[in-house]
């Protein structure tokens, strides 16, 4: 129980830092650091999504870039239609674009969910290497599709000329956009923490350990895993939508397997299956990029070493490492 308490303590420190540091930067008039913190929040959110499938459910999805990118493209496409007043679909009814985040988010999540049901139904019948490969293959298919589809920029990507809006806020102001991202991250973290301890989370975590046993007591593995996969995809899609708005640009890179790998790195660096792991992992990643990236363009070499160290010596990731030390004190 001591371990659990200190992890809770560490989580609170991380949240406090995530909120305080950007405000500090804001007061010091350093918008660059505010946007850096915004990236941390968004990438952590993407990681929280993947962690649900990977950490809790043991589903090694190497295709979460698909959902991240869908979130981004839904945002970009809706915004571009809204800005040039062309309806997305015109027939007997005509569907216009929108620049309202409150409409964009649910739509992005819904479309990601539909795609996740499809990918999940085909891939969840397999496991291990085959599951990794099928999820990767789907993401790559979408990646190449986005490159070769000229309507929305193809290889060049799609700019979002104005950051989408949120009622009552000026999203163009970095600190306000940061607070939107940070609030969403906190809400999702709260939701996942509830889910973890629910009947559903109980079954999901048992499935990761022993699928045959779970089936033999009357819980159908496919239903639980598919649901977790879909929830996981929608969270990552929400992050993708925010990421598009942060950069005011979407490109096929969001769909590439590098992105899938990066999200996986956040999860593993922070600690597989730990609720706040992706936040720790994404923070460390961005920190490495900002600090080491300033010294050398080969900073990813050091990131590789770090990842190697975590995998070899700290299976609980950064959070496991820190909480264990606290326990020994």
């Amino acid at each position: 129980m001591g371990n659990y308490m200190s992890e809770k303590y560490l989580n609170r420190i991380m949240i406090a830092l995530l909120i305080v540091l950007p405000w500090l930067a804001h007061w010091l008039d350093e918008p660059y650091y505010v946007s850096l913190a915004t990236r941390v929040a968004i990438l952590a959110l993407a990681g929280v999504g993947l962690n649900l499938a990977l950490g809790l459910g043991g589903m090694i999805s190497f295709g979460h870039a698909a959902f991240f990118g869908i979130g981004g493209y839904v945002t970009g496409i809706l915004a571009s239609h809204a800005l040039n007043y062309e309806p997305i679909f015109s027939g007997f009814i005509s569907i216009p674009g929108t620049t309202q985040m409150l409409i964009i988010w649910p739509l992005a999540m819904l479309i990601a969910a539909i795609v996740a049901v499809f990918i999940g139904l085909l891939s969840l019948r397999t496991s291990g290497v085959y599951f990794i490969m099928i999820t990767l293959a789907f993401a790559q298919m979408i990646y190449y599709f986005s490159i070769s589809w000229p309507a929305y920029g193809g290889e060049d990507g799609l700019p979002i000329y104005m950051r989408n809006g949120f009622p009552g806020l000026n999203t163009l102001q970095p600190i306000q956009f940061f607070m939107i991202c940070c609030t969403l991250l906190l809400i999702v973290l709260w939701g996942v923490s509830r889910l973890q301890n629910s009947r559903f989370g109980n079954a999901l975590q048992a499935l990761r350990q022993n699928e045959t046993r779970v089936a033999s007591i009357g819980i159908n593995p496919l239903g639980i895993k598919l649901t977790a996969f879909v929830i996981s995809a929608t969270i990552t899609a929400l992050a993708g939508s925010l990421f598009a708005d942060l950069n005011r640009f979407v490109s096929p890179t969001m769909f590439s397997w590098h992105t899938s790998g990066q999200i996986m790195i956040f999860v593993i660096l922070g600690g597989l299956g730990r609720l706040y792991g992706p936040l720790a992992g994404a923070s460390l990643f961005i920190l490495c990029e900002a600090v080491l990236g300033g010294w050398t363009e080969y900073w990813q070499f050091f990131l590789g070493l770090l990842l190697l160290g975590v995998v070899l010596f700290a299976r609980g990731g950064l959070i496991g490492l820190l909480t264990r030390e606290q326990k020994n004190v």
């Binding site: 301890n197 009947r199 559903f200 819980i219």
Partner: protein, 249 residues
Amino acid sequence: MSSPVIEITNLSKSFGAIQATQDLNLTLNFGEIHALIGPNGAGKSTLIKQITGHLQPDQGEITFLGQNITQLLPANRAKLGLAQTFQVSSLIMEYSCLDNLLLVVQARSGSSFSFFTAVRDDQILLAQAHNYLQQVGLSQRHHLLASALSHGERRQLEIAMALALEPKAFLLDEPMAGMDPAGVKHLIERLKEMRLQAPILLIEHDMAAVFALADRITVLDYGRIIATGSVESIRNNEQVQTAYLGVAP
């Protein structure tokens, strides 16, 4: 004469050239312990897996309480009331004893699609889980991870999980394997109690236990039934003696 709980008709399963189950017919009746014996590789575990749904038969039919379950998923068969224990202990290793049972009680008592209410706050579920742990004498060990249990304790946890399903039939695959004589003796008494709750299809190598418990014995060899009948008739069957019991005729 009431209809059997489990009825297997003309069941066949082969892996390549090996016939693991050959045109097999078997019943499990209310209130009985039906022991399934035979040498290693006789197809006992393959048969159990076909009953639980972890393997699909090539041919034949399995009915459970009058319902054809041949095409059902393992989870749906369990929901109908088929409980199994595994030859090699199959537990949720990173869960405590209590959490292992909580999962079973949760599965039996409703849907697992509840996302916001903490399952460990559900006092009714907790009480039930504790109750089954107590029945097998693991109350003191409830907080231990399944991976930290001794072999014998793991076997008992498996039994508790089967009990917690409140099943209509038990399928026990070598429950005594690797247990010390005291443990075996204890388990024999437990199985006598369990049969009052639901009939047991028992695979077991410990012949003393089988002779002490079984109402009927079926002997399998190369996927076929070579004999079936009362304990006495099996004990005196020459074919069985040469094939399995190792007694010179």
